[in-house]
């Protein structure tokens, strides 16, 4: 075997304490200094920091434990095992596809490695409009720096793949700003399969960095262990009740695990965190849990190029443009990036059938797709969605798309078409049921203007789930304070992207890492006095 499975090898040689909850045959109670629910960007970093301080940490993960030997660059296998709801999670009305990870390491196992610091305007906006303290650009800088070092974040030094290069060429031709994306990789093979689990352990996900470090420090990991309920008493969480899930990763075995600790850290991410709090009837006098959930709604434009793009190979994201992000004249801002296109992902976003689908798919090696990530949560007509529970207790996100957002999405389609034609596209199609490929920019723009602003006809997706447990100093407007402490329980901290009061305006992983480092370090001080 060419690539050692670092996780498995170390687990054995270092005697890590890892339990598949699904294999337990009776109910148990586990006690620790700190219980961390979730092992993604927030939980992973928190586990590392708290365990380094000598605290007895227990990590709880609903998903399975998959390591590099399990990553076969197979889309179907990965979507089924590594993503929430088999990669088919969607908003309540089914209109927006949600790509969110579900495994030890969380979404960091399947993200595309783009690592941006939280933009200054976002941090300033939180301070000015959401009563957040301690998150100024200057205060955050050391945390970004430390996490960048920890996770080998650096601007991608290799040439971008053709898919990304077209983004760059289009920007250059239109005189729009662009830049190289910093990525959290070490010894990357430039394969292009970040979204289905890195087979070479190059991606510095939580799976190969902080979770192993915590385990080395004596932390315990329970996976296939689904947090069902927090038991609240007066201003305190007494315990975390979990259900063991069987080997299929979905079906409860009937075994319950009860976790008890003086401190609980909730890091299950947007959607699942509010879901757990709502299931637990957490005190919420101002009805804030689940509100302001942000998703960076994404629309996409497909171009047929003359040259070979092979959009399924190479670092998936290496170039971006923020040209339309901040100077928006009142419109919704957006970031321009590209997605990788292996065949399943490609066919899924195209949304056609029969010969039209096959004709388009046959051009896959010459296709280029550009995406726009809309910056939601910064305008009175963009207040995000609301997480609620369905009848089975499962969290669902109700996310309305407002006229202001439709206007932004339409503008993004125009700009993506301008970009793709400027980069030499033969034809361009905005991804919408009523669109076709146009051979020139004028026709394409006419088509974009005629597209009905209708959910289910417009291909919309998201891979960035943020908010729902907003932080801030005003209890009427937020769920946790600026240190991440739940307003209504002193020993519960929420540490992950669910506390962001707005979207980030950039792929959020580094924002979560830095926040987690800051909050977990402060928590250590609180605990140790």
């Amino acid at each position: 075997m060419a690539i050692p499975d670092l996780f498995k090898d170390r687990a054995k040689s270092e005697n890590w304490q890892i339990s598949d909850a699904g294999k337990l045959d009776k109910n148990i109670t586990v006690e620790a200094d700190v219980i961390i629910i979730g092992t993604g960007a927030g939980g992973g970093v928190s586990a590392e920091v708290l365990s380094q301080a000598g605290l007895k940490v227990v990590m709880i993960e609903e998903g399975g434990l998959y390591t590099s030997d399990d990553f076969n660059m197979d889309e179907m296998e990965a979507y089924g095992t590594l993503y929430q709801e088999g990669a088919a999670r969607a908003t309540k009305d089914g209109a927006i596809s949600i790509f969110q990870g579900r495994a030890v390491g969380g979404t960091t196992v399947v993200n595309w490695t783009s690592s941006f610091r939280t933009p200054d305007p976002t941090l300033n906006h939180w301070q000015q409009h959401h009563g957040v303290k301690g998150f100024s650009p200057a205060e955050m800088a050391p945390y970004f720096e430390q996490m960048e070092k920890r996770l080998s974040v650096a601007k991608w030094a290799m040439p971008p793949n053709a898919n990304n290069d077209i983004l760059k060429q289009g920007c250059q031709a239109n005189d729009w700003s662009w830049a190289v994306i910093p990525r959290n990789v070490s010894g990357c093979w430039d394969l292009g399969y970040c979204g289905v689990g890195c087979p070479t352990n190059a991606k510095q996900s939580m799976l190969v960095t902080t979770v192993p470090e915590a385990l080395k420090n004596g932390a315990q990991l329970f996976y296939r262990c689904s947090a069902e309920r927090l038991i609240f008493s007066e201003h305190k969480v007494e315990a975390v009740e979990c259900l063991a899930l069987g080997s299929d990763g979905k079906t409860p075995t009937g075994v319950k695990i009860n976790f008890k600790a003086p401190h609980i850290v909730l890091s299950g991410g947007a959607i699942n965190n509010p879901g757990l709090l709502l299931r637990s009837d957490a005190p919420d006098p101002h009805n804030r849990i689940g509100k302001r959930t942000m998703i960076h709604p994404v629309n996409a434009s497909l171009a047929k190029m003359d040259e070979t793009t092979n959009p399924f190979y190479g670092a998936p994201q290496s170039i971006y443009s923020d040209h339309f992000q901040w100077q928006t004249q009142g419109d919704m801002g957006f970031k321009l990036e590209v997605p990788p296109m292996q065949p399943v992902m490609g066919a899924q976003i195209i949304g056609l059938h029969g010969f039209k689908l096959v004709d388009t798919m046959e051009d896959l090696p010459q296709l280029q797709s550009t995406i726009a990530l809309m910056r939601d949560g910064f305008h009175e007509d963009s207040v995000g969605g609301t997480v609620e529970l369905d009848h089975g207790g499962k969290p669902v996100l109700d996310y309305p798309v407002t006229d202001y957002m439709w206007k932004g999405l339409r503008k993004a389609h125009h700009k993506m078409a301008e970009l793709q034609f400027a980069a030499g596209a033969k034809s361009v199609m905005p991804l919408h049921h009523d669109a076709n490929f146009s051979n020139n920019l004028k026709d394409c723009k006419q088509e974009i203007d005629a597209l009905p602003a209708e959910l289910h006809r417009h291909r919309l997706l998201t891979a960035h789930l943020m908010g729902g447990c907003s932080m801030g100093e005003d209890e009427k407007e937020s769920v946790v304070n600026s240190q991440g402490r739940f307003h209504n329980a002193d020993n519960l901290h929420i540490i992950d992207g669910s506390v962001f009061p707005t979207s980030i305006g950039a792929n959020p992983q580094l924002s979560i890492y830095a926040l987690a480092l800051k909050q977990a370090s402060a928590l250590v001080k609180t605990i140790k006095g």
Binding site: M1, A2, I3, D5, S68, D69, D70, N72, M73, D74, E75, M76, E77, Y79, G80, T81, E85, G86, A88, D93, G94, A95, W189, L191, G192, Y193, P199, T200, D248, G249, K250, F312, Y313, Q342, P343, V344, G346, A347, Q348, I350, G351, L352, H353, G354, F355, L357, V358, D359, M361, E362, L364, P365, D390, G392, K394, H433, E454, L455, H456, R457
Partner: protein, 184 residues
């Protein structure tokens, strides 16, 4: 069929959708889910539906040679069964309700325009059904189309047998990096 006709059809179908799916469930026409064996979510009637629709959804993509086609569709069915299971209980239930609607004569006829059973439906009828749901002014039909479309696209283009046609050589360095047989 023009958009206005779609709209008229849409209003009628929308009512039919609710009435017929309730009827289908209440009258015991809804086949219960498989409880054991190879299948976790797909019932016989669901497999008949998918087997009929797949070659039209993927017209020009599935192999022409009968044995190869049968193998491709059987693989799609297995992958679809697993994919629906992986959706989780909530979404799987919604898929079951959609299949109920598609399998119950009255609701199938009213909403899809296909009055014969799926295994007897002509290619043209199935194509009309797909177009009708995709183009419908009713969001519910667009949504259902999207669901079936994504499932069939994923389970075909997720198979290595589909890759040559779309110019995808497959994962890089498979001999070094693929360490166990993949499920597909």
């Amino acid at each position: 069929m023009d958009r206005r006709q779609f709209l008229k059809l849409g209003a009628a179908s929308s009512a039919a959708l609710t009435v017929a799916s309730v009827t289908a469930t209440m009258s015991g026409c809804s086949e219960s889910l498989p409880t054991s064996g190879q299948w976790k979510t797909l019932r016989i009637s669901d497999r008949v539906f998918l087997t009929a629709v797949a070659p039209v959804m993927l017209k020009g993509a599935l192999p022409e040679e009968p044995k190869a086609r049968e193998l491709a569709i059987n693989n799609m069915l297995s992958l679809t069964d697993a994919a629906i299971f992986n959706l989780g209980p909530h979404n799987a239930k919604q898929m079951k309700e959609l299949f109920d609607l598609l399998n119950f004569g009255l609701s199938r006829g009213l909403t899809t325009g296909v009055w014969s059973s799926w295994d007897k439906a002509s290619e043209k009828e199935i194509e009309n059904f797909l177009n009708r749901w995709r183009e419908s002014s009713l969001a519910l039909f667009n949504l259902a189309y999207n669901g079936i479309n994504k499932l069939l696209c994923a389970t075909w283009f997720g198979q290595a047998a589909s890759w040559q046609q779309v110019g995808y050589p497959g994962p890089l360095y498979p001999e070094a990096l693929i360490t166990k047989p993949s499920i597909s």
